[in-house]
Every structure is written in C-alpha cells, then in structure tokens.
Symmetry: C2
Subunit: 411 residues, 2 copies
C-alpha cells in the first residue's frame, strides 16, 4: 500500500525554519553552535517533543529524536541530515533531510502505523565546516573517524573553540559520541548540482560519493619592477600559471566523470606595476572511480614535473593536501530506493554525489544510501538555493517508503 | 678642469638617512608625510642649513634648498629627487638623487666655486604613491599637471587625507606649488633594472621614459560547487585566464623594447572547492615608442574581443585605467651628460626609464634629463636594493659636472 507525507506541513516547517537566522535574498545564516543554530535546533525539538519523540544528545552536539519501535532492542533505522548553514546559505541544504525525517515520523503517527524497529531522526553537528573545520564533524566523531579531541580543539576565526561552544550550550555533560548499532542510514538531500533538473528526473539514487584530492601549488620566480626589466630577463611565474591551468583543464576534460577545479589563484605581492614573485593556487580533483582519480593524480604530478623542467627559472612546488577516497553506498539500499520510486511513479537516475555529506562517514559504519531531489539551476550554498514543494514532497515520500521497507511496518 | 665630490661624505649621509625608519634587511619605511618622512626631511634640512642653503617650502610639501648664484634673478638649475620610500623600500631609490644634489652644492662650497645661476636642491613630496595615490604627486602639482585639490583630497588606507597631514606638519600655510622658471632639471637615480650592470656601464644617459598603459580586466562566469557540476556545464573563467595570459605574453614578446606585466590576478570567491565565479586581473603595458605602445594597446583590446567571442559563456570586460604617454628628455642635456662622462672617463649607454619619476612631470615644463647608476641585480623597492659607493660617487660626479656646465662656473 502506498503512503504519502503531508507536503504542506513539510513546506510550512521548511519556511518556519528559514525564519531563524535569515539573510538577504531568502537565505539563512545559522553557523554551527551559534545562537541561531541552537534556535533552529530548539524549534525542531519543540515539534518533536510535541509528538512524543524522545531526545538523546551526545557530547559533540548531535541530536537523535526517537520514534520507538515494537522491538526497542532492534537496531534502529536512522534518517536525518544537518541544520547548520553556510554564512550565506540556503533554506534546503541539510534542512530538507532533517525536516523530511520529522515529516516521515509524524506521518507514521498520523497513520497509526507502528514499525518493528525504532526510528532515529539524526541532526549532525557542523556539516558545513564554515565556522569550524573540518566539515562533517559531528558524524565523523560519532562514527569514530574524526578524533573527538581534534574536533573539540577546532577554533573559529575569533579563536572560540568547539569545546567552548559545546559547553556554553550544555552539551559537554552528554555521553561520548558513538552511533552504536543501526540497521541503516538514509539521508535525503538536494542535489546541489544541475543534473537531475537537466535530465527531467525527480529522484537521484545516490550510489556513492566522488573521491576527492586537494593540492596546493606554488610558482616562485622573482619579483621585479614592471618597467625596467626586459621580458627575457624576468622570472615571471604568471606565464607558467597559464600552462598549469591548461594542464588541469586537460585532466578534467578527458573523461565526463572527472571534475577539476582551480578554486583559488593569486599573484603576490599583487601590485599592478610589479612582476609577481610568486603565484599560489589550489587544485581540487574528483572522480567517482578511485582508480581513475589516481590516474588524474598521476597526470597532475607528472604534468607539474614536466613544467618544472620546461621552466627552470620558476620553482614549482605541488603539495597534496587531502585525499577523501571514493565512497560506495549500499547496493541493496539503492535497489530498494529504486523500487520505492517505481511504486510511487517517480522517475529516477543513478548519481554519484559530488559534494561531501555526513552519509559518507555513516557509510563506513552502517549500510547507507542517499536520495537526491533537484535544486533549481543547480545552485546551492547561496540564498537563491531552491527546491520546489513538489520535489521536496516527492523526496519525503521516498524516505517514508524506505523507512517502512527497512523498519518493518506492523500494520 | 675636472672636479670630484666627496664620495665618503655622500656615502656617510646615505647611511645616516637610512637609520631613519629602518626595516629588516637594510631597508627603509618612510611613507609620505609620516613622522619618519618628516624626520628624514629634518635631517636633510639640518645639513643644508649648516651650509647656509636657504629653505623654501610649498603647500604640497615640496622642499627647495637654494645655493645662491651670482645672478639671483637668473632661472636656477634644479637638481633633486625624493626622500619618501615604499613600505619595505631601499636606501637609494630617490635618496641618492637628493643627497648627491646636496653633495654637489657642498662640493661647490668646499671648492669656493661660484655659479652664475642659482642652484635649487628639490625634494618632491610623495614620489612613491604607496600611501597616497597618485605617485609623483608633489612634482605633478608643482608642474601644473595634477590638480592641487585632487592631491589634497587623496586618502590613505586609514582615511587620512593628504591635506590633514600637510596641515599637521605645517605645510598648509605655504605658497601654492609652482616650479616657476628654471634653466633645467637634472635627476640622478638608481636604474631599478639590470641593464647597466649586465652591460658593464657605470652611467645610463636617460633619453626619456616609457609610455605606460594600465588596464583592469574582469572575467565573469558562474560560481558553482567543485563537485556536482560537470566540466561541460560550468561557466568557469579560469581557462579563459590562461588564454589572456598567453595573449599578454605574446604582446610583450614580439618586440625587445616592449614590457607586459600581469601584476595582480585573483579568483573569486577564492575557495578550494568552489568553481570561481569571477577572475580579476590587471595589465601594465609599456614601450619607449608611443606608436608601438598604441599597437600593443590595439592588440590587447582586439585580442580580448576575440576571446570574448570564443568564450561566449564568460563576460570579459577590459577597462583602460591610466595612460602615461612616452616622455622625451632634452636632447641637448643628454648630449651634455655624455660629454661630462667622457671627460670623467665613465662608460655610458643610452637608456629609457622603465619606472616613473618626478622628472617625467618636470620634462613638461623645463628641459630635463636623468642620470642612472647601476643597482645590484636590478633589485629595487626592496630592502636588498644596493648601489655601490663607487657608482654612487660616479653619479654625483656627473651631476656636479652637469651643474657646472649649466649654471656657469665663475671662479
């Protein structure tokens, strides 16, 4: 039998949450562990406790709202996402996954449906990583991937520690974070890219996450006056920058699944009439296949080596800074998402997530899958971020169907 | 008859001046109209007044120390330069021209030599343009090229106006700046480039200054997440930056006299995992021939137009920001510098100044020439800036010979 969530209630709650920490142009600013972040969590808690969902917290500030199952000892089905936002973030990134989870729990109550397994609605602390690094902090600690002490010591730009803010909000007396046993984790999220919209599909069945490699590259030449020094006597790193840009574009364009980005570039000292002595840049390589990502890595390192030989006057340093391996979600769960969508009459396509998500950490501990819905023009981390009420509802319907599938509807 | 300056006295004064506003690595910081700049000027004034050279000031802070001539009504011979420095400047840029001028005046006193014309040692306010823009401010106002009101209204990064600082130091009650009639202006300066050193010559006879054109270029695409958006759906301005760098290098490399510099580049918003929405850069084009500079200008504008057509997804704006035409110094004066060097046994070469100097403004009002001496490794605007005592002395000897040539030795 097909069940549906209350799309209007879901939308009203999305809009109510968006009134906390508003920024110009329909955006939100609820930075991790700020007063606004806490206010958003308090609003969610007020809705949850009104329906009798008990709250458990942990010492990194993760929240778990439980709808009890017929077998309270059975490993629960976890749903959720995050409520924190970028400084000029949108109303859906993370929030949809949390509020759709609440909507699923409430719909089950409205329908009088019990489940065999308990259901936990999870709210992870600091997914965005804007105020405190690294991102995906709460899920990382709770999954035993990020050391708790490292998370506690992280400081924001004003020198405030995560530990200070946790203590200010009273989380410090809670138990040490650990997700414990669970049946599975299911996270609904906006795509944050243009693919679903372009392909006319409503649901992205996310089979995994791209592997990511980050690099810092520096080109050092010699700073000189733009007037007196002839071109042939200069050690100008800027022409070599052009060759590096071409190299990175080549690596990105030989395979439609590859992503190559030069996100930062700057010439130093940065004066109109000074030949720069140094150029600094970053490179972000991504691929859904780890072997291919390694091929891209090798192409970058070898390409930099060739450029260093070709331009002996310019010192070229390339420093790998981070490697997040390819993530594979649970194939059984992905198959179940597809079946649910079929029953609901929703068009799907398989996808690989380009952005990082808490689900990446969960996948290392429990069977995990993500469900994407389209976002307009692929725009995210931006006040213009938008998912339609129809798509948000469709995503929540799929989440409801998955919860019933996994948690065991008892009638 | 050949006369020589006192090279040891000149060097001692250079080193004494360098003790005011010292920075690490033998450098100096005497920003325009700062307390340090004023202290440097006071030290000079103490030396000048000790020898009886009368001081005249003007309302933009220019200083003129006079050694009277036999005919006080005759248009004077002007020598000089500036005492202000870059934030991490050297000990010679500007300072050599001022202290060599003092050395020439003192040597004439020591030798008991009178001149027909009066001699004015000029110290121009704000040649560097680091704290207040534009550069070459005092000479520009005194030559009627830069509007006085514009100079007074210029603000530093803290919002302090030139007018405020002039008033603080008591210049505001002085006469409106105007150089008045003069026989000629002769400025000794370090080359700030590597050409003299590389060619083994001691004196550069500067026949003029390069024309300069400045541009701001902006490439606007669309900011997106580095993960979810495929390469072919991006509007990434960075690949177009590579084509622009190549274009500017081409323009610079087709003629050995041309200079092309991309001094500033930055990608915005500047985050490792965000495809930049915008790239901003500046271009500095220079050439000693105005017609060739115009050819370079046309090549840049047309090249940008071609790139705009080739990359329709990226908005390319190119905005010309400044044009300083080619400067030609006085040919008679240049010939006299060469004759003086010949008599002194100093090897010369003709040069065109790549850097801007107060002499560029003076050249529009009175016959003007510059004399260059080598600076080590061509390094300037840097604490490592260095001219040897021998070269500094040689330059001052030439200045002395020129002053005697133009002012008419009487005794």
């Amino acid at each position: 039998m097909l069940h549906h969530v209350d799309g209007e209630r879901l939308w009203a709650r999305l809009m109510a949450m968006a009134r906390i920490g508003p920024v110009a142009g329909d955006g939100n600013c609820r930075l991790t562990l700020s007063d606004e972040d806490e206010a958003g969590r308090a609003l969610l808690a007020s809705w949850c406790t009104a329906r009798g969902f008990a709250l458990r917290r942990d010492a990194i500030g993760n929240l778990f709202f439980r709808r009890e199952g017929r077998d309270p000892a059975a490993p629960p089905v976890l749903v959720g996402s995050h409520l924190d936002t970028q400084p000029t973030g949108g109303r859906f990134d993370g929030i949809l996954g949390v509020l759709a989870g609440l909507e699923v729990l409430e719909t089950l109550c409205d329908l009088g449906l019990e489940t065999e397994r308990p259901l936990d609605l999870c709210v992870w602390t600091n997914e965005e990583g804007s105020r405190f690094q690294p991102a995906m902090m709460g899920s990382g600690v709770a999954c035993g991937i990020l050391p708790f002490e490292q998370a506690l010591a992280a400081c924001d730009a004003d020198g405030v520690r995560v530990a200070d803010e946790l203590s200010r909000h009273g989380y410090d007396t809670e138990p040490v974070p650990d997700i414990g046993p669970a049946d599975c984790y299911i996270e609904l999220h906006i795509e944050q890219g243009p693919i679903l919209e372009a392909s006319g599909k409503t649901i992205g069945v996310v089979t995994g996450g791209q592997g990511i490699r980050w690099y810092e590259i520096a080109l050092t030449g010699e700073e000189t006056h733009a007037g007196p020094v002839p071109m042939r006597l200069r050690k100008d790193p800027v022409p070599v920058l052009a060759r590096l840009i071409d190299l990175v574009q080549e690596i990105g364009n030989r395979d439609p699944e590859a992503r190559c980005t030069i996100g930062t570039v700057r010439a130093l000292p940065g004066s109109i009439n000074v030949v720069p002595g140094r150029v600094e840049m970053t490179v972000d390589l991504r691929h859904p296949d780890e072997a291919e990502l390694n091929v891209m890595h090798d192409a970058l390192i070898q390409g930099c080596g060739a450029l260093a030989k070709r331009f002996p006057d310019i010192a070229l340093e390339v420093a790998p800074r981070w490697h997040s391996p390819v993530v594979r979600f649970d194939a059984t769960l992905a198959g179940q998402v597809k079946s649910c969508c079929e029953r609901l009459g929703l068009a799907t396509r398989d996808m690989v997530s380009g952005a990082g998500h808490d689900a990446f950490h969960l996948a290392r501990r429990v069977p995990t899958v993500m469900i994407f819905v389209p976002c307009r023009d692929g725009i995210s981390h931006n006040p213009r971020e938008y998912a339609s009420p129809e798509d948000a509802t469709a995503g929540a319907d799929v989440l409801l169907a998955m919860v019933l599938e996994r948690a065991g509807a008892c009638g």
